[in-house]
Symmetry: C2
């Protein structure tokens, strides 16, 4: 069983992180109003796994993407960005009969509401070269949005099993929302099955409440470990994160950002910092600090892909211990 104070020594492979899932247009309203009343929208690069990869590339990791876009103007736009950021796109599928997905979101001080137009993303197919990509990867990352609909879901489940059998570390963002799933509440069991196979999961308090009944943070941690999760990073919004291995007392790490400009994609930034730490054999605790540090830089800029300083600068600025065993 992994401890918060352990270091992993992932085998050095050609690809650090391969992610599976959606890349899409976030259409964010300019008005702060209910979505029904929003008139003007601005287009942004989006999709959680795509954000994780771009941020990870900027932190000097090699990444690859298993995804699917439409053969259209929006797909071309997204693909160009991924290419410019040097994400490996050998497994980026182009769908000739479904469009690149788009999500409308309203700007809001409260929880924003959104409206998703799925398309090519739900058609990700299993191709032989995907297995080769997993063979070459230290970490496999997957979110929950892409699991909500078939055939992408069934492709995902096969790749997850292959990754686990081949000792690729599994990082999973277990964000279940019944409204996205044709099966509704029954989808929970699929999320729990993947949690049981995961090395790292990073749920929010909201995610935990949607998956279990409303409870305390400590009880949520217990429930995730009962599902079989190894390392659980429970995010508490402005109160930082709790990191738990299921046997030691959870470690609390505070938010590092001094000001908050835009929290869009903060969780994706956390993932890229955290996985960068794991790939460099920082302890799990120090990796989580690195996650918070990268998120802090993100939060102080606008957009899911705001600029990030070099990794070593971030570590030095936030006093993250690269060499020694982490302490409490």
């Amino acid at each position: 069983m992994l401890s918060i104070y352990d270091r992993l020594y992932p085998e050095k492979k050609p690809i650090d992180i391969t992610a599976f899932g959606e890349v899409l247009l976030d259409m964010i309203s300019r008005e702060e109003a209910p979505l029904k009343e929003c008139i003007n929208f601005t287009r942004y690069f989006g999709g959680s796994p795509a954000n994780v990869l771009v941020n990870s590339q900027r932190l000097d990791n090699q990444t690859a993407f298993i995804s699917r876009i439409g053969d259209d103007a929006f797909g071309d736009y997204l693909k160009d960005i991924l290419k410019d950021e040097r994400v490996n796109l050998d497994c980026l599928q182009i769908d000739s009969s479904a469009a690149t997905p788009v999500i409308f979101v309203n700007k809001s001080k409260a929880t924003p509401s959104w409206l998703a137009y799925r398309g090519a993303d739900i058609n990700i197919e299993l191709e032989e070269e995907i297995y080769e990509k997993i063979d070459q990867s230290s970490i496999f990352f997957i979110g929950s949005f892409i699991l909500s609909k078939n055939p992408a879901r069934s492709t995902a489940l096969k790749i997850i099993d292959y990754a686990v059998e081949n000792d690729t570390l599994l990082a999973f963002d277990p964000s279940f929302r019944a409204s996205l799933w044709p099966e509704g509440e029954k989808g929970k069991q699929i999320i729990k099955d993947i949690i049981s196979k995961s090395d790292f999961i990073k749920p929010s308090l909201d995610d935990a409440e949607h998956l279990f009944a409303k409870d305390t943070p400590k009880n949520y941690l217990k429930k995730y470990h009962q599902c079989g999760a190894k390392i659980v990073i429970l995010t508490l919004g402005k109160d930082g994160v709790l990191v738990s291995d299921g046997k030691n007392e959870p470690v609390h790490i505070e938010v590092f950002s001094e000001k908050v400009i835009d929290v869009t994609g903060a969780g994706d930034s956390f993932w890229s910092g955290f996985l960068s730490g794991i790939l460099r054999s920082l302890t799990i605790k120090e990796s989580a600090k690195l996650g918070n540090a990268v998120a802090a830089f993100k939060i102080q800029g606008v957009g899911a892909l705001s600029s990030i300083p070099p990794l070593l600068e971030i570590m030095s600025y936030y006093n993250i211990n690269p060499a020694e065993r982490g302490e409490n």
Copy 2:
């Protein structure tokens, strides 16, 4: 056989025009650029049959809409507009599992390109009350966008047959684009079948070229009549329209607008003016002039639903003959 100089005396029924098809959000770019490079978009009320109905209501006709929207913020927005315009919405279906359709369009001096996100619209179901609505209607209007995909297409074909059997006048906008049809070029035959049943069709030169091989306007008219169309109104853009009954020489009507601000929805405006004329027993030729007149007011304002003066003012302004048999 109908002549251009004939008047029809449609039986007075509770509903003047019932339309079948899509109501959707047009997301128009603010930048004049290829869609791939457009960053900002503004939302507009859209969907050709919805525009025809709103314009027809503003011209003092009673209308009803057979359509389907998602149970979402965009559907609510569109429904509120239709309700405010007093379009009868007894046959507006709400889809709990598909979203309200959205079309992205780039502003362009050349032909704009677009990207459609279909949703609830393709799920319009046959319901008993639709037959009742047709029974109460003088004219049934349908476009081509909604025919491209099932199950909406199969619903449409049944309603068209019912309307024709019940002597409801059939107005059809035959705008075939193979890229929208899963069957590709085979879709043409369905369009031609509906043309054969139509009292009025209003293709553009582009529509004609997509349906037949490239040809002259006069030959296009001949081909439409060979399909079985009764009255063909071929729109020539800035050169006005040709109205043909297949036996007399086609009548040319010039564009009435002095300045061009925005041509979005000009064709839908034509339909509402033309059908308003038919409903008031103007000759077919004078009805087409009324169509051009209403389109002229549209073109001089911005948006598909720019404001229209009262019908009698338009007729007097453009010298449209309400009482006597129209002349050449």
